[in-house]
């Protein structure tokens, strides 16, 4: 009989969350955030390439007939300014290696809180959803102002890494389904996940989020130990999702890194082909830089 590994989330050096989130947000230049966005409206704002899921009403038929290219017409308009953050709280996000500053979920939670602080400071609404997390997951509907930030921070403080996407393949679709239904054009969706052991249908859910003028940025949260496999001596590794146990040692480092690179590349190609961006977030990195990187990527997608 195998014993399920379940530990309280390791916040490491990141607690307290609220204070840390404010400090990180202060390091991010909030003024760069513009609320004026391109999308459906009355004043023409330019063209962009068609992506599946775009509203066919804005397809530039003339351009299609003249240049044989599918272009979408864009207009300056007041759009949905909401920021929706999706945090992966499955069991694998509870991992913390020897060099990470905290568990991956804690790292993702702090980034989410910092994004929330940046958004609320700019007057933008903020919403929070979890993939997994079990009973500790308490999604926060989109709201504005300081109260919204407090609710988001409170929800993130209580989150724990629970859930196995292999046992519950609909976990991702349930989390993102609401966003697909509620988020309007121009809204920004940030998914913070390690993309570990997610089912292939999770790609379809992410593709749906990135359609219809929504901006999707995926933050790939990884621990340094996962990136360079520091084990030298014999060790027994147990998967955090499922019952898999592997006896191994430092001899397999190269093979593991190759497999990891292939795994990451597969996900990255699948996400970017749908117009979204992927940002790698190391748990031993700089938080402010990570938040700024997410904001920059979101701006780039919108542009």
């Amino acid at each position: 009989m195998t014993k399920e590994i379940h530990r309280t989330l390791d916040w490491g050096q990141l607690a307290p969350l609220r204070l840390r989130a404010k400090m990180v947000a202060e390091g991010v230049y909030a003024g760069a955030h513009r609320s004026a966005r391109k999308g459906a409206g009355v004043e023409f704002g330019g063209h962009r390439e068609y992506t599946p899921g775009d509203d066919l009403r804005w397809l530039d038929r003339r351009s299609m007939m003249l240049h044989d290219r599918l272009l979408i017409r864009q207009f300056e308009t007041e759009t949905d300014r909401a920021l929706r953050v999706v945090v992966d709280a499955t069991a694998s996000m509870g991992y913390r290696g020897t060099r990470g500053k905290a568990a991956k979920l804690a790292w993702a939670a702090l980034i989410a809180a910092a994004l929330a602080k940046v958004a609320t400071s700019s007057g933008d609404p903020i919403g929070l959803t979890f993939i997994g997390g079990g009973k500790t997951a308490r999604p926060v509907p989109v709201g504005s102002g300081r109260e919204a930030f407090e609710r988001v921070a409170s929800s993130l403080e209580q989150i724990d890494a629970v859930g196995d996407p292999k046992l519950d393949p609909d976990l991702v679709e349930r989390a993102l389904g609401g966003i697909v239904r509620a988020a309007r054009r121009g809204s920004i969706v940030v998914v913070l996940s390690d993309l570990c052991d997610l089912p292939s249908r999770a790609l379809d859910a992410l593709a749906a989020v990135s359609s219809r003028g929504r901006v999707l940025v995926v933050g790939e949260v990884l621990d340094p130990d996962e990136l360079d496999f520091p084990f030298d001596e014999a060790v027994r590794l147990k998967a955090m999702e499922g019952e898999l146990v592997v006896e191994t040692d430092g001899q397999v480092r190269e093979r593991y890194l190759a497999a990891l690179a292939e795994h990451r590349d597969k996900w990255k190609r699948a996400i970017t082909s749908r117009g979204a961006e992927v940002v790698t977030l190391r748990t031993d990195g700089d938080l402010s830089h990570s938040v700024r990187e997410i904001i920059d990527r979101a701006s780039r997608v919108r542009a």
Partner: protein, 643 residues
């Protein structure tokens, strides 16, 4: 040991700590979580095995390190079981008396013999000597010998111990101790010690002398054990007569006596009980191979359970040279000496000889010759007798009135230089034999009060050449014996004729003849020797013993060789081959140890449990272990095959 000793040794229990740590570490690694475990390939079993081997080596090193640390902590309080000298600051004169007798072959302490343990003890004692100490080695096997004269070269003493081997000699502890005392007496060291490494079994019951310098450091050696031995195995044409003997605590009952040709059993009988017994085994007269007699079963000393069968050779008779007309008894029949020899029921024939043959080869069938009052020897007879004696013959010469009347040209050489004189009855009437001396023992008592009609008297020079067995009460020789060549001669100053004395009617007469026959039998070729006794051999002799060649050396003008082991020795001199057999010494079977002096096991300030500082050895061992661990770690880190 004190509490501190136990406490320090208790630290050794911490040797299990590395193992527990190892177990804890391994259990922890069993449950190590890893999010991307699905992407991690499993390693080859070979790599895991190598990892485990490395772990075990390190564990072994660390556990050993902890043990050594505990020992190092306890060293000042621990008494080592090694033999060592408990000494002060002064130099020591040490004599190691090592017993190399047969009884030291006993294996009563497991696989190793007493001799091996004694040598090990001597080595341990040598390791506690220092510069300036003098060491000598004396061997207590009979005869005692100096293996190493006193020397300050300890390495020479060690080399001497390496060359020592056990033998089948008898034990002479007193002689060896006297030799040891004389060795240390002249040495300048004030602290003189004699260490006796022996089982103290030398056939006597008297306690060891209470010498303050004497130390018997191995009390486990003197222990009475049981042993039986085959003393002799003599072959006559149709049978082999075997003599066996046992120590007081042993019996041969239940064991078999086997006659073997090689490893083939030719005959077998049950061994009788009792301390001394003889059995007879039948044999095919045509058999010509070398035979051995083996006593089956196991006892303390295995080496003496086998004896080479001695072939008695062609000498099967006793020749009696005398005047059959004058010496015939009044009732008729053979002369009285012939009848007496026959009455002894020996397996030797008694043959009367009217005259000596002219060639010594014709005397080959005779183990002994009895001359009863001969009127001297002719020159031819003298030459034959001389050759006969040189080849090992035994002669009994009875002198009477006819001997004193030897004709011109007749003499008694080589037995006597001068013709004896004959005293008449008037002068000897009150001079009977004085008993109580000589090898005849109590039998000589029956010769007291002899009533001879006269007696022969030897010249003084002749009388001095004989070993005196019996004397007349006024001093002259009555019965004597002397060695001549390889043989020997006995002379008695009365004839065997009944009309001259009542000697033949006395029991002592039979005792004299019995002694003569025993000596004649003992001189039969091949001859039997005691272990350790030296024999005279020709310069060109080549000797081969049970353990290989035996060397001989010239000593006082003759070549002598020592035969130290039981068994068959073949002596080749040009085209002649002689066989000698070395038999066990019955005295050596008496394995009861002599009593050591009171406190003799721990005198002269030395004890088997003396403190021995071995801290530096342990510290060195610790350093080596640490170095080994460092090397192992570097090796494991740098070798890509093991990383």
């Amino acid at each position: 040991m004190s509490f501190l000793s136990w406490f320090a040794l208790g630290v050794a229990l911490l040797a299990v700590v590395p193992y527990l740590a190892h177990r804890l570490r391994r259990r922890k690694s069993d449950d190590k979580p890893f999010a991307f475990a699905r992407l991690v390939p499993a390693t080859e079993p070979q790599a895991r095995r190598r990892s485990e081997l490395t772990d075990k080596s390190l564990f072994g090193l660390r556990a050993l390190s902890v043990l050594l640390l505990a020992l190092l902590g306890a060293t000042p309080f621990v008494r080592c079981s090694r033999l060592s000298l408990d000494r002060g600051g002064a130099s020591v004169a040490l004599v190691l008396v090592v017993d190399d007798s047969m009884s030291m072959r006993a294996k009563d302490g497991g696989e190793s013999s007493r001799f091996t343990r004694a040598i090990a003890g001597a080595r341990q004692l040598l390791s506690s000597t220092r510069e300036g100490d003098a060491v000598a080695v004396v061997l207590a096997g009979s005869p005692p010998r100096v293996a190493l004269a006193a020397s300050t070269d300890i390495n020479a003493a060690r080399s001497t111990l390496d060359t020592l081997t056990p033998s089948d000699r008898a034990t002479d502890i007193d002689g060896a101790l006297a030799m040891a005392r004389s060795l240390v007496a002249s040495l300048p060291q004030a602290d003189k010690r004699i260490v006796l490494l022996s089982d103290l079994a030398d056939g006597t019951d008297t306690p060891l002398p209470d010498d303050p310098a004497l130390w018997v450091p191995m009390p486990e050696l003197p222990k009475e054990v049981g042993d039986c031995a085959v003393l002799s195995a003599d072959r006559s044409p149709k049978e082999v007569r075997v003599e066996i003997a046992c120590s007081p605590k042993a019996t041969a009952e239940g064991r078999d006596i086997e006659l073997r040709g090689g490893e083939r059993v030719l005959a077998k009988v049950k061994a009788p009980g009792g301390p001394h017994a003889s059995v007879v085994l039948p044999i095919d007269p045509r058999s010509t191979e070398d035979l051995d007699v083996v006593m089956t079963g196991v006892d303390a000393i295995a080496e003496d359970d086998r004896a080479a069968v001695v072939l008695e050779g062609s000498a099967t008779s006793i020749g009696v040279v005398g005047d059959t007309v004058e010496e015939v008894t009044a009732t008729g029949g053979a002369p009285v000496v012939e009848q007496a020899l026959a009455a002894l029921r020996t397996d030797l024939d008694v043959r009367p000889l009217a005259d000596l043959p002219d060639k010594v080869a014709d005397l080959r069938p005779y183990a002994g010759l009895v001359f009863d009052d001969p009127p001297g020897f002719t020159p031819e007879a003298r030459r034959v007798i001389e050759d006969y004696l040189a080849r090992g013959g035994v002669v009994l010469l009875a002198l009477g009135p006819r001997a004193s009347r030897a004709p011109l040209g007749a003499a008694f050489t080589p037995l006597l230089g001068t013709v004896p004189t004959w005293e008449t009855a008037a002068s000897v009437r009150d001079k009977s034999v004085k008993a109580g001396e000589g090898p005849l023992g109590d039998s000589a008592q029956s010769l007291v009060g002899l009533d001879p009609k006269g007696r022969a008297e030897l010249a003084d020079d002749d009388a001095r050449g004989f070993s005196r067995w019996l004397s007349w009460s006024d001093g002259p020789l009555f019965l004597g014996q002397r060695e001549l060549g390889k043989g020997e001669a006995m002379v008695i100053t009365l004839p065997f004729a009944l009309d001259q004395s009542d000697l033949p009617l006395r029991p002592g007469f039979l005792a004299i003849l019995d002694s003569f026959v025993a000596r004649a039998r003992a001189r039969l070729s091949p001859r039997r020797s005691d272990a350790g006794a030296s024999i005279t051999v020709a310069d060109a002799a080549v000797i081969k013993g049970p353990s290989g060649s035996i060397s001989h050396a010239r000593e006082a003008g003759v070549s002598r060789a020592v035969l130290p082991e039981i068994g068959r020795y073949v002596i080749n001199v040009q085209d002649r081959t002689e066989v000698r057999v070395v038999a066990p010494i019955p005295r050596e079977l008496y394995l009861r140890p002599r009593a050591a002096p009171q406190g003799g096991h721990a005198k002269v300030g030395a004890a088997p449990g003396a403190k021995l500082d071995i801290s530096w050895v342990i510290a060195l061992g610790l350093l080596l272990l640490f170095a080994a661990e460092i090397v192992m770690r570097v090796f494991v880190r740098t070798d890509p095959a093991t990383s």
